[in-house]
């Protein structure tokens, strides 16, 4: 027996006691499912689910030029952020490809809090440090935070029982510092499921107690712990990008249908030149959604043909529990990346018919 070299979150024992199936996710031993992926997926769409996302990394930037540094290393406009506001953004290489996709929170004029992908945290930290020519300090803060996501139409009612903060007043993509279950916490109205919900950051040592109290608070709504499996199908239905799939070092935001997070007019930022050049030359490939029409699931990495010739690849594909069909995202040559195009996904050496469709596949009602 070799001891596990996988990293664990402070909720590892909780997952074990809940009977979760644990998997290696980018070097982390994480719960992929508890009661079952489809059941967990529906629980989030219909009621409320609880996710341990403590594997996600945190980087804090402080100092008089914290905003300037963050603006320089990210694509979205940090300068425009109000205190207490969050934005989705890209961390790019000079050549325009993604280092990571991130959430930037403005805590104060001299304090930026960034949530990054688990498997990218060391890379992101080094990347930002290397570009820090400003009067700012970059801190690797992942060890200071656990993160729990409460997601679904009953997330508000669940969480409000445990906090004096008026969380109903927190708008989507805003956050507030306060207490949850009696411990200091950062409460952000963000998520990766396409539902209303919150992401709560707290000290790792407090995470098991916060988790337990959330479970109690949500029990009347049928709250369930949810794993990475449901997290993936939920985000895919909502067409949220996953690093390593839709985006990576050789994909730019313009190709990934994320031009909205690129603010060219904000001034210089890493990757700007490359993106401007790409825009001028014309975007060659674009991300687009598809529905399987033939029998089968177009999965990550499968080839996509157009009129019998190789043309692209699937970045994510799965049955959609909400829509009850097989959906996916793929890259296609830009001139063909239009809705209503017949494509073929190569599933185990067989061309299976699919059609490009509008995204997101699922959008919650107001």
């Amino acid at each position: 027996m070799t001891p596990s070299t996988l990293k664990r979150t402070p909720l590892f024992d909780v997952h074990r006691s809940l009977g979760a199936k644990m998997v290696d996710f980018g070097g982390w031993e994480m719960p992929v499912q508890y009661s079952g992926l489809v059941d967990e997926h529906h629980t989030v769409r219909r009621a409320v689910g609880l996710f341990d996302v403590s594997h996600m990394g945190e980087i804090e930037i402080r100092g008089p030029e914290a905003v300037r540094l963050t603006d320089y290393v990210t694509t979205n406009s940090v300068d425009k952020l109000k205190i207490g506001q969050t934005q989705y953004s890209g961390l790019l290489y000079e050549h325009g490809g993604f280092v990571d996709d991130i959430l930037v929170h403005k805590v104060a004029d001299d304090h930026i809090f960034i949530c990054v992908n688990a498997s990218n945290q060391e890379k992101d930290y080094s990347h930002i440090c290397a570009l820090n020519k400003f009067d700012a300090k970059v801190e690797y803060a992942s060890d200071r935070y656990a993160q729990i996501a409460i997601q679904g139409p009953k997330a508000l009612e669940t969480l409000r029982k445990l906090t004096p903060v008026d969380i109903a007043a927190i708008h989507y993509y805003w956050f507030q510092d306060g207490e949850v279950a009696g411990v200091p916490a950062r409460i952000a109205r963000t998520g990766y499921t396409g539902e209303d919900g919150f992401e709560v950051y707290c000290a790792p040592s407090e995470a098991p107690a916060v988790w337990r109290k959330l479970t109690e608070a949500g029990s009347e709504f049928g709250i369930k712990p949810c794993g990475l499996g449901a997290r993936n199908t939920l985000r895919l239905e909502s067409k949220m990008a996953l690093y390593g799939h839709e985006i990576h070092a050789s994909i730019t935001p313009l190709e990934a249908d994320l031009a909205w997070i690129v603010k060219f007019n904000k001034g210089d930022f890493v990757g700007r030149e490359a993106l401007l050049k790409q825009q001028e030359a014309g975007i060659k490939r674009k991300l687009i959604g598809f529905d399987m029409r033939g029998r089968g699931i177009g999965r990550d990495g499968y080839e996509v043909n157009l009129d019998g010739s190789p043309a692209g690849w699937v970045t994510s594909g799965s049955p959609s529990p909400t829509l009850n069909k097989n959906i996916g995202l793929c890259y296609l040559p830009a001139q063909h990346a239009q809705v209503g195009r017949k494509i073929e996904v190569i599933i185990r050496n067989q061309a299976v018919e699919a059609e490009t469709v509008p995204t997101p596949f699922y959008k919650r009602g107001k």
């Binding site: 199936k21 992929v32 079952g36 992926l37 499996g229 049955p319 185990r348």
Partner: protein, 128 residues
């Protein structure tokens, strides 16, 4: 979950139960649990041949696709057609209602290589 003592098991997580020279073949409870919610089952046609160690079909869940390997050789005399429309049966009753195919064995000696229930239990215990 109990693994029936009168079944035999493969390392690829198929089970086999033999009755008068006809082997009923399915996937184990461990296999369905590892796969999660099953959405497709691809099975061969009745009358085709299964060859020991070769794939004869596949089971697909929300998360993954998994090939199914024939534990023995022979003619496929029956296929569980019900699974095409109710693949979730494989999650509910993998050792019973959700059998996959029945094979008239051409080389019953092939059974000797397979694991007993106790051996399989140890095997999946060690694997997980």
């Amino acid at each position: 979950m109990d693994y029936p003592a009168d079944f035999r098991y493969t390392k690829e997580h198929e089970w086999i139960h033999v009755d008068s020279g006809v082997a009923t073949i399915g996937i184990t409870d461990h296999a369905q649990h590892e796969l999660g919610d099953i959405v497709y089952v691809d099975l061969p046609k009745t009358g085709s041949n299964a060859e020991v160690g070769k794939t004869f079909g596949s089971v697909e869940s929300v998360k993954a696709v998994s090939d199914i390997y024939a534990p023995v050789s022979g003619e496929i005399v029956e296929v569980n057609e019900g699974l095409a429309t109710a693949p979730e049966t494989l999650n509910q009753d993998p050792h019973g209602k959700a059998w996959l195919i029945k094979v008239r064995m051409s080389a019953p000696d092939e059974m000797k290589r397979l694991m007993t229930a106790a051996e399989y239990q140890d095997y999946v215990g060690a694997e997980s």
